[in-house]
Amino acid sequence: MTALLAICNGLGLLNGALLAVGRWIGAICLGLMVVVILAQVFFRYVVQSALPWPEEASRFLMMWSTGLMAPTAFRRGGFVAIDMVIRLLPRLVATGLSILLMGVTILVLWIALGIGWSEVTGIGGRFETDSLRVPVSLDLSVWMKVPKSWMMASMLVGVALLLLVAVELALRNLYALTRGPQGLREIPDIVVLGSGAE
């Protein structure tokens, strides 16, 4: 049990650190999305010369923002679920059901991880995006088109982080089933207000 507690808390530290980095990058992506779309509006209506890349660039940023920030919401209980049955059950049965449901979640994410990997490394990922380019020389004289795999990797990374979180939550429940929550590091609660489009 001590080993399980150490694994839970170790995985918690790892996830905490990874997700903190994810939140920072995700927040920057969200800010950049606004700048990119405002640039699109400015160039189209003020300069009268539409830019070719803002739409695809903002979608690229949105996908990464989603992939990097959704795992934080999951870890802090922000994914929408009906927890009425679980709350009505005795604690031990509820924890057991939570572990079972987490097992289904892990299975879904594990399959998604395999598919995501083959999508990113497969033929679809080798195609290029329509308008996105990055410099590949220091003097900015040579540019390459961004491969689609860079964008598709957003979902793969998101699934991988979700899987890590799901494993952590399942192990925490497993530990809590036998010993209760004593010794487990606390996960910060998500702020309930504003937890969806409502």
Binding site: M63, M84, S98, T105, I111, L193
Partner: protein
């Protein structure tokens, strides 16, 4: 076999599996049992393609704009303006509560944001003036649901995207129903004020006071005008309008009102990003779910079941309203729309119900569902703001809930309420 994905999904949902995983697990398991393992890859691709959409980007932008406005402290200005307008009515502060929700709806588009931003100001004020606290909390909750009905509205963007409708048409269609709910609540308050002897109103604001309150609220109140004006004049797409709303909220909060500092920005971006990532993932999963629903002919199967009960569209609309009301008790509006829209929308379209009208019926009904226990997000938010128990607010909100249900029936059976504005602008035939 594939048609069993819906019952399986419901079992997962009732047991407590997060909606997003249930939307994927149920069809994936049945595809696997059906020997269609290869199609599971299509589920993954549908989620990816479902999220990778330019129109959908309006959701994080509107959330960000709402977050900026909330943190930027505009709520007090809105309350001040509403007070100058209707504070002298009988039941004055309760009337103010409804009017500020209607004004705030044009800025944030979220009922929960409305409760958290306005409730924390108006509930203590009402209590101080002698209103019973449960009454103050109840009217705050009941009026907050106008948020996602009057544009902009996150829920309407989700519906428009999942069902392939025009965002602008839905935004326009929500204006009159939202105002109608507000007026119905104000009439109810007037009746209750006389009957229950609610506190006397404050004196009528002088022209000078009204002008000052209007001036203080001027910049925030320009947001809906810029948004809807930009969209309807064709200058912006809804997504661009949402980005402009973010830029505008940022500019006035930092430079004009000076209520927000640069230090607040990372927190604002993080909160909006986390919240919108949940919605984006849900919408992506819903697009995969929708594909499986179509493959399994679910809408057709449900349509034939519904039509076997009655073929009268008016009766079917009543039945669907009851279904939505019950669903709203257990599920938040966004996920409910994502799950039920693709199933119910085609059925009523085939019965001749205008898709925009049906969208408004769904959105209004499920938004009112945010007030119903056991899963009433707005009740939870109001409880957090007021410090009252959810059960206490749920009891106090009953008269307002009844009025809102009557308005839903009006919206259901008089399509002109929602369709006149989009028709005038040419979005609906």
């Amino acid at each position: 076999m594939l048609s069993f994905f819906l019952p399986l999904f419901l079992v997962f949902l009732m047991l407590g599996l997060p909606v997003v995983f249930g939307l994927l697990a149920a069809p994936a398991i049945l595809l696997w049992l059906n020997g269609q393992e290869r199609d599971i890859v299509l589920l993954y691709r549908n989620v990816y393609e479902g999220m990778n959409s330019f129109p959908l980007m309006a959701i994080p932008f509107f959330m960000l704009a709402g977050e900026l406005m909330n943190r930027g402290g505009i709520s007090a200005r809105i309350v001040g303006f509403a007070q100058a307008m209707v504070g002298h009515f009988r039941g004055g502060l309760a009337q103010v509560n409804v009017v500020d929700s209607m004004l705030f709806a044009g800025i944030s588009g979220s009922a929960v944001a409305d409760v958290s931003a306005l409730g924390s100001i108006i509930i203590p004020q009402m209590e101080k003036k002698g209103y019973p606290k449960p009454f103050a909390a109840a009217i705050t909750a009941a009026s907050a649901i106008i948020g996602p009905i009057i544009p902009p509205s996150g829920i309407m963007i989700i519906y428009a995207y999942v069902m392939g409708e025009s965002v602008a048409a839905l935004f326009l269609a929500g204006i009159v129903p939202g105002v109608l709910i507000g007026i119905a609540l104000m009439i109810t308050i007037k009746l209750m004020a006389d009957r229950y002897n609610l506190p006397q109103a404050q004196p009528r604001a002088t022209w000078g006071d009204a002008a000052r309150a209007g001036g203080a609220a001027f910049w925030p109140l320009m947001t809906p005008i810029i948004l809807m004006g930009g969209i309807l004049s064709g200058v912006f797409t809804p997504t661009e309008a949402a980005a402009v709303a973010v830029g505008y909220s940022f500019f006035i909060s930092i430079f004009v009102l000076r209520t927000l500092t640069w230090r607040d920005i990372p927190g604002v971006l993080t909160r909006a990003g986390i919240t919108s990532s949940v919605v984006m993932l849900l919408v992506g999963a819903a697009m995969a779910f929708k594909t499986v629903a179509a493959l399994a002919h679910t809408p057709e199967l449900l349509a034939s079941t519904l039509l076997s009960i009655t073929e009268n569209p008016l009766l079917l609309l009543l039945l669907v309203n009851l279904l939505l009301f019950v669903v709203g008790m257990f599920l938040d509006a966004g996920p409910a729309i994502i799950i039920l829209g693709p199933i119910l929308g085609p059925i009523f379209a085939s019965l001749g119900v205008d898709p925009v009208h049906f969208a408004v019926v769904m959105v209004v009904n499920l938004t009112v569902g945010l007030l119903t226990p056991p899963m009433g997000l707005v009740l939870f938010a109001t409880s957090a703001v007021s410090g009252l128990r959810v059960e206490t607010i749920a009891r106090a909100v009953m008269p307002f809930l009844l009025v809102e249900f009557l308005v839903i029936l009006l919206i259901t059976y008089i399509p002109a309420i929602s369709l006149t504005l989009p028709r005038l602008v040419g979005f609906v035939d």
